[in-house]
């Protein structure tokens, strides 16, 4: 008994000491490329280790009603792509696509934090969407016909116009695709990049050998050690990678001028639910519309002009086009995540891509961002 008492006392002492010193040890790595002004992700409240998150049976109801009843949006994102979707060490998510998820939550539910991020590998994207694991897929996904048709997805407004490029070490001196005959080319599995590579090289009669990896973390060592001679991916990713590789002391990289294919990246929802699709789409397009109006997170709450288009957009007069969104959803969205330009500058400019002069610029500046009027 004496031993027991002694042990009990010592245990309690140790636990008190442990409790007092918890929270003091934070890892000091500077690894997270999170942009400034990051918010923490909420754990969807009451997450218990059993099944359905209380989702009501969709008895003829649309996904919009289901999501509003459930109280959070399940958003499929990337967790290892700097600029678009990254998971930070403390479990929070940041990135351009992640911010778009928050915009959807702000628009549909009025709360930018009412979103549950579901990280997905490229291979699992569409099965997750089809099976209902996620409500919306915002994960640098290219809009193609097969995905609209065979894979049961519906693509919405393109949020990022991109193209597929090819990167080689500058020392090799390769400048055209023909230089890569029979070469090993690193590519991610389950992406349009893989299919385009096969199609373009096949059309030109250039033989090649793909090295297929599941994610960039496995791919990059193979590329840098020379197992692959070239790396093909979306041009935005290649620019980011070129910047990071060169900044970390690697070899100088060269991105070929030739753009292999068009890569319009945008959000996707399941087939067969137009009201949900439209709610998501207009929430996202609100960010571009605000940019066009010159409204951003700082001044949208204090607009004092009389432009009827802007007043409709802000919902000041109670304008409701019947999308199932709140009248002031635009204000909620812009105040929480900012307009398109702010999101771009927060997430994508740090990885080395400029907004001005790119296809993602506003249509009034010569770019492709053109949204239908909110009227």
């Amino acid at each position: 008994m004496k031993t027991t008492r002694l042990l009990a006392v010592l245990t309690a002492l140790m636990l008190v000491l442990a409790a007092c010193t918890t929270g003091g040890d934070t890892t000091t790595t500077s690894g997270s490329e999170e942009p400034a002004g990051e918010e923490t992700t909420t754990t969807a409240g009451g997450d218990e280790p059993t099944t359905t998150a209380g989702a009501p049976e969709p008895s003829g109801e649309g996904l919009l009603e289901t999501v509003q009843a459930r109280g959070n949006v399940l958003c499929g994102v990337n967790d290892v792509l700097p600029g678009f979707g990254v998971v930070n060490e403390d479990g929070t998510f940041s990135g351009f696509d992640v911010d778009l998820c928050r915009a959807v939550a702000a628009g549909v539910l009025g709360d930018p934090e009412a979103v549950e991020f579901v990280p997905l590998v490229a291979d699992a994207r569409f099965t997750a969407l089809q099976s209902g694991e996620i409500d919306v897929l915002i994960r640098n996904t290219t809009w193609t016909a097969t995905r609209d048709g065979q894979e049961g997805a519906t693509f919405l407004f393109t949020t990022f116009y991109d193209g597929q490029g090819m990167m080689v070490p500058a020392s090799t001196g390769f400048t055209t695709l023909e230089d890569l005959a029979d070469a090993n080319i690193c590519v991610l599995s389950g992406t349009t990049t893989e299919l385009n590579l096969t199609a373009v090289f096949g059309a030109r009669g250039i033989p090649f050998n793909p090295q297929v990896f599941a994610d960039n973390e496995q791919l990059r060592p193979a590329y840098e050690s020379g197992q692959c001679e070239a790396w093909t991916s979306d041009a935005s990713q290649l620019a980011a990678l070129k910047a990071t590789i060169e900044a970390e002391g690697g070899e100088e990289q060269f991105i070929m001028a030739e753009i292999i294919s068009k890569e319009p990246l945008g959000p996707a929802v399941r087939d067969g639910d137009s009201s949900w699709a439209q709610a998501v789409e207009w929430s996202i397009m609100a960010t571009v519309q605000a940019w066009e109006f010159g409204l951003d997170s700082t001044n949208i709450g204090s607009y004092s002009g009389t432009d009827p288009n802007v007043l409709n957009f802000l919902g000041t007069d109670g304008f409701d086009p019947g999308l199932g969104l709140a009248t002031d959803f635009a204000i909620t969205i812009i105040e929480s995540v900012g307009n398109y330009q702010e999101m771009y500058e927060r997430n994508i400019v740090p990885i080395g891509l400029q907004l001005e002069g790119s296809p993602n610029d506003l249509w009034t500046n010569g770019g492709l961002m053109y949204v239908p009027p909110y009227r």
Binding site: T4, L10, M14, T27, T28, P49, V87, D215
Partner: protein, 463 residues
């Protein structure tokens, strides 16, 4: 009738004699020794050079928390700090109860039995203790030291249950289960269906502990037991409606924490299922036998990764539209179903190894078939297959590394998070691999030694 016997003369070789007979017994052996010794010394030198001098362990040091708990929300870390001592307490209580009941059985059978001593435990689990020391070496604050010491003390405290008299033994198992559930819910929270898990555990305890101990109970006993279960369930439900703690669901767990919990949950959950499958496979009813055999052969014929793919890509198609199961829940379900098939085969082997005379004796005593199974067959069969079950747990623990192919950040895959950081993109790949490999090795080695030891002791103990 004891005659004093002198032990046989054994020549203990020392020094030159030992070297001669062990390293150079004959020509071929000597050649082998001469070839191997320099190779061994050189590789040992290079390995030591790598491990102690040249390696950049910074990648592991700076990311130790990532390896241990992955992307678990940092502000909720106190939950993990609370879980470990609870778990150690539970383990101590369980081991104490098991050790004392083993001791009682040995005394009954008149066999010798050595008490488990702390020194013995240290010697048996030197690999795990070594790994924990390595972790503490890499730790940069004092907190891990306190947590580890607290857990060790909690374990010893739980072990004190050994001193209790025999009639408190059952309470020991109930205490262990309750502490395990408490440790789990400290992290996962008390909302939702958490009360159900506790109610089940408490209910099982209430069921076992109430009522008379007659072999064939009457209806009064059943009524008492049912009443106890209902009362305790209601109490638990009320308690849980007062304590609402959202916790951190297991979808957010990662790192070594997730690896350990997935293996533990899978083996615990698969056990009843596998038991039923084994009994079904051996039953005389052809339909049951067919169903069980189909299931077992189907699951054992495909690799685990195929089942994990099924779970990841298509599992949700088989559930009503609108239901959602997180990716980790599905992974745990797949591991459970997979392990259940293997557990079924192991238990079936145990059931087959039991002499049929046992069953016949039970029937001769007038016991019904369920009672024969419950009181005679299962206790012996299960005790006989404990080493194989431990082996299955080791396999399961190693197989959790396959979750990295599904991009879940368990212990092995945390490496991709570490090497995604700008500082460690191209360096330290070997160091992190070695660290992860040593982690797996430490636990698996300790478990396999335990299983060998149990096997040896069970053979001695079996009549």
């Amino acid at each position: 009738m004891t005659a004093t016997t002198t032990p046989p003369l054994v020549k203990r070789l020392t020094g030159i004699g030992w070297v001669r007979s062990n390293l150079f017994p004959n020509v071929w052996s000597s050649i082998l020794t001469i070839l191997l010794l320099p190779v061994l010394l050189y590789s040992g030198y290079r390995a030591g050079l790598f491990l102690l001098v040249n390696a950049e362990w910074e990648a592991v040091e700076r990311n130790l928390t990532l390896f241990m708990q992955g992307t678990f929300p940092r502000d909720q870390q106190w939950r993990l700090v609370a879980q470990l001592p609870l778990f150690a307490l539970a383990l101590g209580a369980g081991l104490g109860t098991a050790s004392s009941s083993a001791q009682d059985r040995a005394i009954e059978a008149g066999l010798p039995h050595e008490r488990t001593s702390p020194i013995g435990i240290v010697r048996r689990f030197w690999s795990v203790i070594g790994f924990v020391l390595v972790l503490l070496y890499f730790a940069s604050t004092a907190n891990p030291w306190f947590v580890v010491l607290g857990s060790v003390l909690a374990f010893l405290l739980g072990f004190q249950i050994r001193g209790l008299p025999a009639r408190f033994r059952l309470y020991g198992w109930s205490l262990m289960s309750l502490l395990l559930v408490a440790g789990f819910q400290v992290v996962s929270g008390t909302t939702g269906r958490a009360w159900l898990v506790t109610a089940i555990v408490v209910g099982i305890g209430a069921w076992t502990l109430t009522g008379s101990e007659r072999i064939v109970p009457g209806w009064r006993t059943w009524a008492l037991k049912t009443g106890a279960v209902i009362v305790t369930s209601v109490l638990v439900f009320l308690l849980y409606s007062v304590i609402t703690d959202p916790g951190v669901g297991w979808d957010k767990w990662s790192g070594l924490h997730l690896t350990l919990w997935v293996s533990a949950l899978a083996i615990i959950l698969s056990f009843p299922f596998g038991l039923i499958m084994a009994l079904a496979r051996r039953s005389g009813l052809p339909a049951l036998r067919l169903l069980a055999t189909t299931y077992i052969e189907l699951i054992r014929g495909v690799p685990l990764i195929a089942l994990l793919f099924m779970g990841q890509y298509v599992a949700l198609f088989f559930l009503p539209a609108g239901s959602s199961l997180s990716s980790i829940s599905r992974a745990i379900a797949v591991f459970t179903l997979f392990t259940a098939a293997y557990v079924a085969e192991i238990v079936r082997g145990g059931l087959q190894s039991l002499p049929p005379g046992q069953t016949e004796a039970g029937q001769a005593l007038g016991l019904t078939p369920p009672s024969v199974i419950r009181l005679i067959v299962l206790p012996q069969a299960l005790r006989a297959v404990i080493p194989a079950m431990v082996g299955q747990f080791i396999s399961l623990f190693k197989d959790t590394s396959l979750l990295s192919i599904l991009a879940i950040f368990e212990f092995f895959n945390v490496r991709s998070l570490v090497h995604g950081q700008p500082d460690f993109r191209v360096v330290a790949h070997a160091e992190t691999l070695v660290f992860v490999a040593v982690g797996y090795w430490a636990v698996a080695f300790a478990m396999s030694r335990e299983s060998q030891r149990l096997e040896g002791r069970l053979r001695v103990g079996a009549a």
